[in-house]
Assembly symmetry: D3
Homo-oligomer: 192 residues x 6
């Protein structure tokens, strides 16, 4: 059944409202086991003059961008080694941790770290999960498999990976990466 | 501002309503950058006789259990090797994938796989993330570090891990695990 | 889509609320071509202290009885010639008109009128239609076929009839009856 | 008291909303004996981007036409023997039953049937009743009296009739007619 | 907490809605001890075609003007002896009572009464209070101190006053004035 | 039209809700010139578990007492010289100003001040006005006429007075009094 109504100030785009409806739909389903078809969401938009809190009219804060889309743009830019585009999406406080690394703060560090590890790598995406944390950060997960070439030119593929991102106000503040590269190498050695 | 109202059938526990309110609060914040303090949620509970859809009164579906709690119970049981408790939380279709394994379907397989890898392992948890997927599954992530002993009795700790769980109707259907064990072993060998 | 909410004073029975939900469901469907399944109705019941109009709290008026049920009770009583039960359902201003009669005001007049016409008659019901008029009256239609015996004992059946009732405050104020008895007799004569 | 709110998708005309408000007003009065003056109806129109069901935005279905108006147009066309206009209002599955007839499916059948019965007939309308059935059909009743000339040119008038119509998606699917013509003829003969 | 929603017909200005929100905010606070910041008000404006009471659509009554503003305009005009402006704000039934006077009905009476009492007087305002009475009248209070010159040219100041106004439909119907002029004079005499 | 809905936490008494409904009714009428009969107020009470703000459930603050009632109790106690009852209604920061006095802070000061002025005084009340200020204070006005005896035993009556009270959290913080006593005395002397 759930029928959800949300009252917001006027000024959000159709896309913002769509994302809002979708987020509320699935939020309600986390407790109430309704099929999506049984969940209705209505967005009531209030003109500034028609809403008052604390004796004051209010202006709407701009919508947060879709964090999954930001992560996707960032990952594509990194794969294409378009560092300017990728860097523009990072927060000043950005850190990233890859298997075996301490937290790094620049993309250049990552590239230097990766160099001896593989010639290039491509990601095949299996799925994304996104949620808003109780704090300021939006969380985005993406997972899938890696393919590419080892430094000696041997190809590899099907290596599982998962990335976890935190974003605040539309900028990436943290990236954590796990994958089976070391496992695969160890197995390769063991069988070679 | 957002003021959220949700109409549900009567019969959910205070804890269910609490989880619902929390989920809706953060769902709205994924688009509208309001501090939690600015988000109000009201749950309107409808007696069965006071709600009709399609010309028929409805009965409320039992609330879904908190998936994070189920995952925590499962992980504790596994760490304590209490397989009966852990098994009771698994769906018939359960599969799990660890670094370097094909999907396994029984806990016994996992234990056999782990045996030559470490004497024991303990998890220190850094955080959980949970969300409802657009499908039937709830998704729970937990991440942190592993400590324990290698087969030769050498202790290890601080090894990053992340687990991803899918749950349907309160049962775990899938577990995917990534960690830096192989990376750590490779480094250890390299430096030994 | 239509999602309908109705705010009423507390005190109506579950059956009253059910009838209310059903009436609102179909009322909305008279304009919006939604399948019943797509129409939701929520009844919000207000405690007397929680509702004020014109600076005054109000008490709920007792629900109107289901007019179709009253008509059914009346028709069964008439068929069983239980005139006391039937009479108790009539308003003081009751009138009834049958084919070829002027408005009659008592059940005894009807019985006198019917006597030379048939020995007895039974109704088979095909359907009821009920609605609230813009005025005080509820309208109930019932239609179907008559069977019975002519004064000479010849049986008849399958003769179409329709009755229209008006009820005010749960009492029948008017009954209008149409049927094909005369048509059937004329045909019988013509073919005899 | 009843205060009724209905949430519909944007796009219905003022006239549609008027009919909707009226239908809901009287529907609530079928259970709660409020004078119309005490019933308030508010229509909340949702932009497509502000409403989601089952994770999808929806488009409003076009309003159903007023079934009483369609019946009126049909009856006028029939009285004026404007068969093309009348026929355009009929559903493919249209059937009609008059006193003493089997179900007929074409207007031509009706005209043939009527020919030996009267030279012409005119209807004086006393009232209409309309409602939405629980199924797909809208039901319209009209009643009043017939006047005209018998085949021999003798005039008649004041003969009671009632018509019942079913309409689906704005087309007439069924017409059932009852009247006192045979009764009147029988009386006329009896007294002549 | 209080979250207040008010449904009104479309057509009120932003300023009207602002005054409405403010009035409702403080009205709720007269019973519920919430800081203004905790009170939210939402105004839902209904198009005429989207609201029906008693089976009829309605047109919005023009908003009442702000009674405090009318009183301020009146007091400024009186201080400037702009009697035409002041008079235009008075209802036909206007009466005013000053210390020691019977009710007066014209501004000229007031001026004649004041003449022997002081050469001129100016008001310094400390505050206004306004409320809607349960009847038709809005009530406005203003208070502060008087300064000016006695008939003999001696200046005075700091004399407390309070005025109470009643306004109906935007016109002043009644003014009652209290002040400490006589008290001050008595003291002056006593000490001279 | 206005239809007002207020959502509050559960726990207010019927009398609290009554006062709330009344306050909202007249607040809306300060802008929209509806007769009280046209204003509906509905109070929706939320169980603590069914309301969340800022991710937290809340408990309702106790209702403020009716300030007019407190003022009435205070005035009766003062007239009866029941200083203990009166004092219990005063805030620590209480001050009062009477014609010609500086602000006094104790009831004893008032009694000393009044002694040479009249033997006793009684109030006849013409009316009360109460409102919530934008700040923490509730404001109550009462007005009417004084009767009593001068120090020499001569009776007086019909002397106009007005009192203005401020109350915070149910305690009187300020009383300001105006009246025509000095005016009356001056007139008496002038005519004697």
């Amino acid at each position: 059944m759930p029928v959800i109504e949300i009252h917001v100030l006027q000024g959000y785009s159709d896309d913002d409202k769509s994302r809002l409806c979708t987020a509320l739909t699935h939020a309600s389903r986390s407790v109430i086991p309704a099929m999506p078809e049984a969940v209705s969401v209505m967005v009531h938009e209030m003109a500034p003059a028609a809403y008052m809190r604390g004796g004051q009219h209010r202006t709407p804060a701009p919508a947060l961008p879709d964090p999954t889309q930001i992560v996707q743009t960032y990952l594509q830019a990194m794969e294409a080694r378009d560092l300017n585009t990728a860097r523009a999406l990072l927060d000043l406080a950005f850190t990233m941790t890859f298997p075996g690394t301490a937290p790094m703060t620049t993309l250049e560090q990552l590239i230097a770290w990766a160099k001896p590890r593989y010639r290039f790598v491509q990601k095949t995406y299996e799925g994304y999960d996104a949620l808003q944390s109780p704090g300021a950060a939006a969380i985005v997960y993406c997972r899938g498999t890696l393919s590419g070439e080892w430094p000696d030119g041997t190809p590899f593929n099907g290596i599982r990976f998962i990335d976890r991102f935190e974003l605040v106000a539309g900028r990436i503040t943290r990236q954590d990466v796990w994958n089976d590269i070391a496992e695969t190498k160890a197995e390769t050695k063991a069988t070679s």
